[in-house]
């Protein structure tokens, strides 16, 4: 009743193949984009941007990237934190080496550099599969973090070993550095999120995306019907690392401003992004956003509830945060192993028939 395809006639193949074939979905999507671009920037406060919006957008990019690799191509990776670090350090080096280069291109270039690193660490995936591969990607995680810690060239020999982003502007507005307005930072990230989500959607329903899914479902069978595993797996690693590199770059330059590699890009980040992908739903773009929103909002809500409302000490709140986050993850996996995206599909199916379910 509320959500139906009846009466929505299509007269051309282009209509039929569009991303949102159902009218309601389409309008819903336009509305979300409109609100995100034209309304949210005017109502933002410092707190909402720094605590919710920026982490959500940046982790959504990382989750999209990991979803391409794990959800669409079936290669489990625990090296997300390491690849984000590559994006961040590439941004730092480019920012300091070419002060005149626009920050927009710096972010893209950092993504490309991360893509190259990702392909290098993706090479073993041609031999190693499943959990063995997941553990193998831990090598990337620990090696990269160690590298950025030990080689002073990466942090320009700064005494603290930290990297910090200098101020860069677009159209006269500061995007990075301490003087950046919250709405500028928000819009800058949003443009990346929007473009990359659009890119993911169109990649995954084309030839490349289908070959990724073939490899995911059964690599040997895919190989037999003529999918080249080398090209497919490495392209998945490249695209995924490109996304993750961009998210690492934004995480450092726009969100943190200054970062220390072990703390900002440790193994915890890898698990966090993997959780987002799993809780959101493997192989779903909506899922990447839902998972990112869930994992970003959960600690914020728990903190508001336990510390601000009940007045408990922060360390107890932190323990309970772990406890509830872990419990919820297990709960979600038991109730719906295919994540929030599958829950959303069920809801839509219910809405289609509502209020006459038979």
């Amino acid at each position: 009743m509320l959500y139906r395809e009846a009466g929505d006639y299509k007269t051309s193949y282009t209509d039929d193949a569009q991303t949102f074939p159902i009218k309601l979905d389409r309008w819903w999507y336009y509305a979300v984009v409109f609100v995100a671009f034209c309304i949210v920037p005017f109502v933002l406060t410092d707190y909402t941007v720094n605590a919710i919006m920026l982490p959500f957008l940046i982790f959504a990019i990382a989750a999209l990237g990991l979803n391409i690799l794990t959800g669409y191509c079936g290669q489990v990776s625990l090296g997300t934190g390491g690849f984000m670090a590559v994006g961040a350090y590439a941004t730092y080096k480019l920012m300091t080496a070419f002060p005149d280069l626009n920050i927009f291109f710096i972010v893209i270039l950092s993504g490309l550099i991360t893509a190259i690193v990702g392909v290098l660490f993706g090479l073993p995936s041609l031999r190693i599969k499943g959990f063995y591969l997941a553990v193998a990607t831990l090598a990337a995680q620990f090696f990269l973090v160690w590298l950025f810690n030990k080689v002073p060239w990466f942090y320009n020999n700064s005494a603290s070993g930290q990297i910090s982003a200098p101020e860069r502007t677009i159209f006269g507005q500061a995007v990075t550095g301490p003087n950046a307005e919250p709405w500028v930072a928000y819009l800058f990230c949003l443009i990346f999120v929007f473009t990359l989500a659009w890119l993911t959607r169109n990649l995954t329903r084309g030839r490349i995306g289908r070959s990724w899914m073939a490899i995911r479902d059964m690599d040997i069978a895919a190989e037999i019907i003529g999918v080249n595993p080398l090209r497919t797996k490495l392209s998945a690693f490249a695209v995924s690392s490109f996304f993750i590199g961009i998210s690492g770059s934004l995480f450092f330059a726009v969100y943190l401003g200054a970062a220390e590699v072990g703390e900002a890009f440790g193994i915890q980040k890898s698990f966090l992004v993997l959780f987002m992908v799993i809780i959101g739903g493997l192989g779903s773009i909506f899922g990447a956003f839902a998972g990112a929103a869930f994992m970003v909002l959960l600690p914020v809500f728990l903190k508001i509830f336990f510390v601000d409302t009940l007045g408990w000490p922060t360390d107890i709140a932190a323990h309970i945060n772990f406890l509830i986050a872990g419990g919820l993850i297990v709960f979600f996996l038991i109730v719906e192993p295919h994540g929030l995206a599958a829950l959303w599909r069920t809801v839509k199916e219910k809405l289609r028939l509502w209020p006459f379910p038979h």
């Binding site: 193998a136 831990l138 090598a139 160690w146 107890i316 323990h319 772990f322 038991i334």
Partner: protein
């Protein structure tokens, strides 16, 4: 013997001792993976939780003291009595058995037949849960664990080895921690005990049957649930032993749970399904990373190579032998 050789020998011996601890954690992984196909990331946190519980019981801490204080405004912390080590170890083992029962009943039974990655994720969720739970129950501060095992350098070894150096060179003897020696002895007994249990008891035979083939085991009347609870309990006990060793060495704290991450390359090297593989893999990784740090890492690469050496070694090794040293050969059919 020349001094460099003695130093190398000392580093190797200490590496082997660390390797024993890696093996212990890896052993818990293998047990659960073989019997239920679950890749149990929570093994490290189980060791942490077991060690925390042991210290808590030993010193008579009130469980959830901080939480009770926060809610009621009381100031409770200890019951005021100490529990002897042996009794505390038995009680902690019971705690781990209860924990195993809850995990199997609440989580594993409901996730039967899910994809391995989902099960893996569930154990990561479990790890987070237990980390929060353990800290909430016993407090997150660094605790020292003492069950009466001797520790400190062994003077006997130091004196004996000091004479091995060539005439005219000053050499002070090797430093080998007594605790490490004890850990090795206990680990050997533990592995021997487990092997005897698996080979010669009825429950052990059932366990091997489940590891071999779930359906066949079910069809001859073996209860999967019971075996899983048993295996998780054994893994909990192994975690307790690892927790005692590691905790006595460097205190009971959060970083203890990270040994699970170190056990992963051990598993890759040895194969996920092989108990001897876990042990040999642990020894190779323990010795390899110490020797690499000693010979190449510290002098040329700026140190701290132990963080990644194990993973890179396992990665390179896997490229040539994807199923690990002793793992089952991977056969794929379309």
């Amino acid at each position: 013997m020349p001094i460099w050789l003695l130093n190398t020998l000392e580093v190797s011996i200490n590496g082997l001792m660390t390797g024993v601890l890696y093996s212990l954690v890896a052993l818990g992984f293998v047990l659960i993976f073989k019997s239920s196909g679950v890749f149990n990331y929570a093994q490290g946190v189980m060791a942490l939780f077991a060690a925390q519980s042991l210290v808590g019981i030993q010193t008579g801490q009130v469980p959830f003291a901080h939480l009770i204080n926060a809610i009621t405004g009381l100031h409770v912390s200890r019951f005021g009595f100490d529990v002897p080590s042996i009794l505390a170890i038995i009680l902690t083992t019971l705690v781990m058995v209860v924990f195993a029962w809850v995990v199997v009943r609440v989580i594993m039974v409901r996730l039967v037949n899910q994809e391995p990655i989902i099960l893996f994720m569930a154990t990561i969720g479990l790890a987070y849960f237990m980390e929060g739970f353990g800290d909430l129950m016993w407090g997150a501060e660094l605790k020292s664990l003492d069950v009466g095992l001797p520790s400190g350098g062994s003077f006997w070894i130091e004196d004996v080895t000091a004479q091995w150096a060539r005439e005219g060179e000053t050499y002070w003897g090797m430093y080998v921690d007594t605790l490490d020696i004890w850990a090795t002895v206990i680990a050997v007994f533990l592995v021997a005990g487990l092997t005897i249990f698996a080979q010669y008891t009825k429950a052990g035979t059932a366990m091997r049957a489940v590891a071999d083939d779930h359906q066949a085991a079910l069809s001859v009347g073996i209860s999967l649930n019971r075996i899983w609870i048993m295996v998780w309990s054994i893994a909990g006990f192994v975690a307790l032993v690892a927790g005692i060793m590691w905790g006595a060495k460097s205190g009971v704290q959060f970083s203890l749970s990270l040994i699970a991450l170190k056990a992963l390359p051990v598993l890759m090297l040895g194969g996920f399904t092989s108990i001897p593989g876990a042990i040999v893999g642990g020894l190779i990784i323990g010795m390899g990373e110490k020797l690499f740090e000693f010979a190449i890492g510290a002098p040329f690469l700026g140190g701290a190579t132990e963080n990644w050496f194990a993973y890179v070694l396992a990665l390179l090794f896997l490229v040539f032998r994807p199923q690990g040293l002793f793992g089952d050969k991977i056969i794929e059919r379309v």
